[in-house]
């Protein structure tokens, strides 16, 4: 069980985040570049100094700035897999895996290291230099090296992002197998939602140094609470104040929704639910407003149309409607969304 509370300033980054990971849990720390994900990981490992921190792992206080406790990195039972494998180039593959065990003066270091190499399926490379390995193989060795010291916490910093597509699939499979068999908390930093969804039980979304959302993968994707997640999932996210089923959205526009409880809410509108018209639409839709086309992106038979105006939104329509409606940049259009298509949940 990991509980890490980190506050620090580094350059323009203002990081203030608390993340917990249960014993049997794989937590993915997801967020845009520069959000502070890697810095958070490095602070947990003690590789950067925090302004204020409290890091507790399995009831052992590794760092508490209030109490003046700070266990140095080399004495924290934490294994790290870095983005670029960082295998020592002057040592053989086996010596790399044995490094941590030798640092602990384990007599059977080389034997245990050889066993770990076999477990990641790379025993035949024991005497090779890391430079002889492919990117995927090197990352598997790096995983074996981190696991060989029998850590209580495994930190993975974008472990797949430096790999090409083929190697990524191979290492992800290997990673999932070893993450599953590892008995300790696991914290994975990534900016790739697929990687997070494939490997993690729970997502923590970090933006600009703050945790903006946390929860099981499907819960987070169903109810985005930040622009970043909404963009990942591909939906429109609005925030506003609901009163008697009408949401006053930031910017002045009003949206009618069914089942909206009063108070601060998020509203999610799927792009496919946004209809585009050239004239004011007749009929039932409750939400109708005007806008100007900003861009049109054709993706096969479908098109994503970004529309600006009092309520900026993205609509997804068929390629043929783009032709029929003559949608192009600066075109003036009417938009409509049925009240039943607006998903609302408390902010």
């Amino acid at each position: 069980m990991l509980s890490a509370q980190i506050r620090l300033h580094l350059g323009t980054l203002d990081l203030d985040a608390t993340i917990e990971a249960a014993q049997d849990e794989i937590v993915a720390l997801l967020g845009p570049n520069g959000a502070g994900k890697t810095t958070f990981l490095r602070a947990v490992a003690g590789l950067v100094r925090s302004d204020r921190a409290r890091v507790v792992l399995d009831d052992v206080v590794l760092e508490d700035t209030d109490l003046g406790v700070r266990v140095p990195t080399e004495r924290r039972p934490i294994g790290i897999v870095f983005q670029q494998h960082l295998l020592f180039p002057h040592l053989t593959v086996l010596e790399n895996v044995a490094f941590g065990l030798q640092a602990r003066h384990r007599r059977d270091a080389r034997v245990a290291a050889a066993r770990w190499l076999e477990r990641v399926g790379l025993g035949k490379y024991a005497n090779a230099r890391p430079s002889a390995l492919s990117g995927g193989e090197a990352q598997r060795v790096a995983l074996a090296r981190a696991l060989a010291i029998d850590p209580r916490l495994l930190l993975l910093d974008e472990p797949l992002s430096a790999l090409d597509a083929t190697a990524r699939v191979e290492v992800r499979r290997e990673l999932r197998r070893h993450l599953a068999s590892f008995s300790g908390a696991r914290l994975l930093v990534t900016h790739d939602p697929l990687e997070a969804a494939a490997l993690a039980d729970r997502l923590v979304i970090l933006e600009s140094g703050r945790v903006v959302q946390s929860g099981p993968v499907d819960e987070v994707t169903r109810h985005p609470r930040s622009r970043f997640v909404a963009d990942l999932v591909g939906v429109n996210l609005l925030r506003g104040r609901a009163e008697s089923g009408v949401i006053a959205v930031e910017g002045g526009q009003q949206i009618t929704a069914l089942d909206a409880d009063d108070g601060e809410v998020f509203a999610v509108i799927h792009p496919r639910s946004v209809a585009i018209h050239r004239v004011h639409p007749e009929g039932t839709p409750r939400n109708v407003w005007r806008g100007t086309v900003r861009s049109v992106d054709l993706i096969g038979e479908r098109a994503r149309v970004a529309i600006g105006g009092s309520l900026p939104i993205v609509a997804e329509v068929t390629a043929s409607s783009v032709r029929d409606l003559d949608l192009r940049e600066h075109a003036e259009v009417w938009l409509s969304v049925k009240a039943a298509e607006v998903g609302v949940y408390p902010a």
Binding site: A45, L47, P72, T73, E74, R75, R76, I78, G79, I80, F82, Q84, L86, F88, P89, H90, L91, F99, G100, A103, R104, R145, A146, I149
Partner: protein
């Protein structure tokens, strides 16, 4: 490979520049006493001087490694007030006239020097005009080459390897011994060879601070200078030997100073 046309004035000046270096080398080869080379090189005083040069230059290199590597680490990684000034002052011997270095050493470690008089009165240690003085003089002029080279290596190395080592449980000493040092080994090697070459050729500071005592401070460059008066053949033969040594150094460091294209 086709050559780019070079303007004629540049070609002429460049030819003059090359001649400035090549003619003396040709001179050494032409005047080399082939008939009596072995005799000139194996005379007792030359052998003594050569042996002393080997001892002093290697001692100076060893001393430079032991003291210079920690100094390079401080320069590459520490931050404190006055660091830049100290760094500049310790680099000074690279551009200082060696004889000035010799005088400065004498003022510091001479019998009446700042530290020398204390060493003499307290321990009875007198450094000037001993082999120790020759080693000290050579170290003084040569160590900056090693320090700057190692410092550059430390600055350009990827420090994340050290972080990886620490995360694997290595304490500072283990990180230094098993990661930092091997990763800067090419720089250390290059710095040590440069340092040794400079120490081997040291003349000015040595003759000023250590004197010219056969067997204890008369190194090869001093012997060459002396022999030029009495036995020019030996001087020429010795010069060619030293030149070949320098050539070997240059080849050993070819990745660093000779373009490979």
């Amino acid at each position: 490979m086709t050559s780019e046309p070079i303007p004629r004035p540049f070609a002429i000046l460049a030819g003059l520049a090359a001649a400035l270096f090549l003619l003396p080398l040709v001179g050494l080869l032409v005047r080399f006493p082939f008939a009596d080379a072995v005799g000139a090189l194996t005379s007792p005083e030359i052998v003594t001087a050569a042996w002393l040069s080997v001892v002093t230059s290697l001692s100076a290199t060893a001393l430079s490694i032991v003291l210079g590597v920690p100094l390079a680490i401080v320069y590459a990684r520490a931050q404190f007030r006055g660091l830049r000034v100290i760094r500049a002052l310790t680099t000074l011997p690279m551009v200082l006239p060696p004889v000035v270095g010799g005088v400065a050493l004498l003022v510091a470690f001479g019998r009446r020097g700042l530290v020398g008089q204390f060493l003499d009165s307290a321990f009875g240690i007198r450094i000037p005009f001993t082999t120790a003085a020759a080693v000290l003089a050579a170290t003084f002029v040569a160590m900056p080459f090693l320090v700057l080279t190692v410092e550059a290596g430390l600055r350009s190395m990827d420090r994340r390897y050290e972080e990886a080592a620490r995360s694997l449980g290595a304490d500072r000493w283990t990180v230094f011994r098993r990661v930092t040092l091997p990763l800067v080994a090419p720089s250390l090697y290059a710095g040590a060879v440069l340092c040794w070459a400079r120490a081997l050729g040291e003349f000015g500071a040595t003759i000023t601070f250590a004197g010219n005592v056969p067997g204890s401070t008369q190194t090869l460059p001093l012997a060459v200078y002396l022999a030029l008066e009495t036995r020019p053949d030996a001087a020429i033969a010795l010069s060619l030997v030293l030149l070949l040594l320098s050539l070997i150094v240059l080849v050993a460091l070819r990745d660093r100073y000779l373009p490979t294209t």
